[in-house]
Symmetry: C2
């Protein structure tokens, strides 16, 4: 075990902070709640972005860019939206600094006060729907399928790197449709895209479901979510897709003429994932030796370490292996640093979660083989140099699948059906995880359960079956189970 | 000529605005000075980003992300920097809104005043060098070669879409080096990368040079620039690369131990290009029929229009052509819209600057040919279907080269050596362009010339030859010519 990392069993929260720090993913900045995403952390985020962007485009979306600032009055136009977002935000009141007349430094110039304050976008529905009013006249202008990659700011009081920061990076899709059915279909399609991304690329199994009214996005009629389970038994909301009804179209007066020349309000969706996914990635796969990155998101998939140092013979063998790997589209790094010992390098690459490590020394070459270490299981084996690229290609696939399966097994072990509130509390406090329980459908009960246990309703699963039962708290009748958990 | 566009000769400025609007590139937003980049405009910016990012990575740079906000006090740490950037900026003073106690809407919560105001980054040297202090201890930590793609805000009074907006998108490279020589080499390397991008991808010829002291970036020891010439004879600064000396290292106390264990301040560079490049692209190539996009930056390179409508026979032929083009990596769109006439479509694609348009009708198919129209020269010809993909591949290359050559010829015609101030003024007022003139090297003279003529020194070209002469304004001795022009 790497000495620098606190073990998960000792202090899970400190373990997370240690990984983020020691694997060079991110750090706090001089600005409260705002993070610096370090180059290695950013390289993983870039891989995520690239894949998501591809999936958005494959489903017909295009990118655009809308202003960072939102006039204060816009936030008030949608009644629920303002309650959700206008409260903790960065408010711009002035547009100039001036030299301090009373000493060194600069001060706000009181003469440069804005007529109307601006807010740094916490989300962009308002500014975008104000723009869509210009873009939409007829059913021929619909659907509008637009995404934006952007930074947003929500003035969080308690922040944690990646999981909850004042500024974060995200994408927000904002689509406009002629019919309710089409907008609902879009909302579900994007939930599916997010689920596919989480499972196939991040190797993070997720449950697709819909939020209870109490957990909905402010201004949505329905919020669909993907929910993942972390190793400490807490849930993490990994992405949301909102059916917004006609709420924003009404607030910003966006109408279209349908095929019969009838004027109608437009139907809307919005959907987003953020740098929070980095937190989900870290907490799903990593271990007490450091980060574990699934091969499909690793900026370097294979690292080659010469034992004990590079020399002409090793260099030549590595050049051949590298060329074969690159020809298969596998990213590879050869660490020729002579100042660091192999053991030090091994620990470094384990810390950074590089999926596969090759060690090559004189004796290996004599035997025509190479030492292969996989990061997920830490198994090592000697493999023949002949055909090594094929072997590694398959190994990367195996690692990707193993990470997913491991996380899925964990989730299965930590998913429990309970029928009484005592059971509910006991499971929550002992093994945690997803608790499938009956609930009477009221916000009052939901809030009461949260107050008593800190658990919230993560979602009503899309595939939940009809099942008569009684609410664990009130005993009132219930038609299906919902998922409760403590959550990030 | 497209009726909707004002001709360049009639009103160049209105022509530019018309193109930006009618080609769906961008529009003003509800927030003063902030633009909305529309999907089509953004698709071109994405192509630029993709290529630039590739070139940065090929030269050893990695991406990272730093906070949007900068504490007010940071701006004051570098004496010149604060003069340049602390003045017109977005100032955040509060972190909460609350329901208006006296009526509808929300107001700033006076109890949520920040202890220290934050400024939305106008550029990130200060926050980045404050972070680099943690990252740099020894010469082993150097060089740091980091880039960031980000939005920045400068509170401009007079804004124009892409050319000068309060918020704009850009990349900013920030590198740290152990020696002055290495930092200077990096500065020049990035100027070269920018020049290569402008010429080889944007097809915009540029002059590489260094700025006069008066035009330097606030906090730089030298600012290198690439300067392009627009069709109205005005210059446009298309990218800058700054040698920052040890100014920011001193301001933020960033030192390293060299190989001899001696503590030294770190040497710095920064360099950036922005969405302003979109303005340069538009104004270099476009004409009175609309936008012209160089093939290498076109999101759609070839559009195919069925004459007069799609039918099975045409569809089959188009499928074959499309497959051949895609196999060559050429992006192609088949416009099957039955509601629009071919003439309408032609005008639309001309407006959007699609490099090549194919028209296919019954008679073409009978003759085994297709009509090919190129956007740059508007020449049309019939070409055999046999081998059409090879023909188009070559044509795209020809268009790319022709656009560059045409712009280069224009620049040559609009570059003038003058030796007297009368000549200077006459050339400036009649043909405009780059004026090569002797200057006595003083900021005083530079400012006086600007006051009298509105022309500024664009740069002292990297390749300028030693030549004895006398300053056009003062008659004082000069060792080389510099380039003057009116500029955007």
């Amino acid at each position: 075990m790497a000495k620098e990392i606190t073990s998960r069993s000792e202090d899970y929260s400190q373990w997370y902070n240690d990984i983020v720090k020691k694997a060079n993913l991110a750090q706090n900045s001089a600005v409260r709640g705002c993070m610096v995403i370090k180059p290695y952390g950013f390289s993983i985020w870039e891989k995520m972005q690239g894949q998501l962007d591809k999936m958005f485009k494959e489903t017909g979306h295009v990118n655009a860019y809308f202003p960072l600032f939102i006039p204060k009055s816009f936030l008030s136009k949608e009644a629920e939206h303002v309650e959700g977002f206008a409260k903790e935000c960065a408010v711009i009141t002035h547009h100039r600094l001036m030299n301090n007349p009373d000493g060194p430094g600069v001060v706000v110039d009181p003469s440069a006060k804005l007529e109307e304050e601006l807010v740094v976008r916490p989300t962009s529905e308002t500014i975008i729907w104000n723009t869509y009013r210009d873009w939409i006249n007829s059913y021929r202008d619909l659907p509008l399928l637009i995404n934006q990659w952007a930074n947003v700011v929500r003035w969080e009081m308690r922040t944690r790197l990646f999981l909850r920061t004042a500024e974060f990076l995200w994408q927000e899709g904002h689509t406009a449709h002629a019919t309710k059915a089409e907008a609902v279909a879009e909302t579900l399609q994007m939930q599916e895209v997010y689920a596919r991304f989480a499972e196939d690329y991040m190797a993070v199994p997720v449950i697709k479901g819909v939020k209870s009214a109490n957990e909905r996005f402010a201004g949505a009629e329905d919020t669909y979510t993907i929910e993942a389970l972390m190793q400490d038994g807490k849930a993490l909301q990994a992405g949301t897709s909102h059916f917004l009804g006609q709420n924003f179209a009404k607030a910003f007066d966006v109408k279209f003429l349908d095929e019969n020349q009838k004027s109608e309000h437009v139907w809307a969706t919005s959907w987003g994932v953020s740098t929070r996914l980095m937190g989900a990635l870290i907490m799903t796969h990593s271990d007490d030796d450091g980060l574990v990155v699934p091969p499909k998101l690793a900026s370097t998939q294979v690292v080659i370490v010469p034992i004990p140092k590079p020399n002409d013979e090793i260099d030549a063998a590595v050049e051949k292996i590298s060329a074969e790997l690159k020809a298969k589209g596998i990213t590879v790094k050869y660490d020729q640093d002579k100042k660091k010992r192999p053991g030090f390098k091994f620990a470094e690459y384990e810390m950074h979660g590089i999926p596969v490590r090759l060690g090559i020394g004189k004796r290996d070459l004599e035997k025509g083989q190479v030492e292969v270490a996989r990061r997920d299981t830490k198994e090592k084996s000697s493999q023949p140099l002949e055909g090594i690229a094929d072997y590694i290609e398959q190994l990367l696939e195996d690692i990707q699948n193993n990470l997913f399966q491991r996380a899925l097994d964990f989730r299965k072990e930590h998913s429990t059906h309970v029928d009484t509130f005592d059971e509910f509390k006991e499971v929550l406090e002992t093994k945690g995880g997803f608790i499938y329980a009956h609930w009477d459908g009221t916000t009052e009960t939901e809030k009461k359960i949260k107050e008593l246990t800190k658990a919230t309703i993560r979602c009503i699963p899309n595939d939940s079956k009809d099942e008569d039962g009684i609410c664990v708290l009130t005993g009132a009748p219930s038609k299906r189970r919902v998922i409760f958990a403590k959550a990030y």
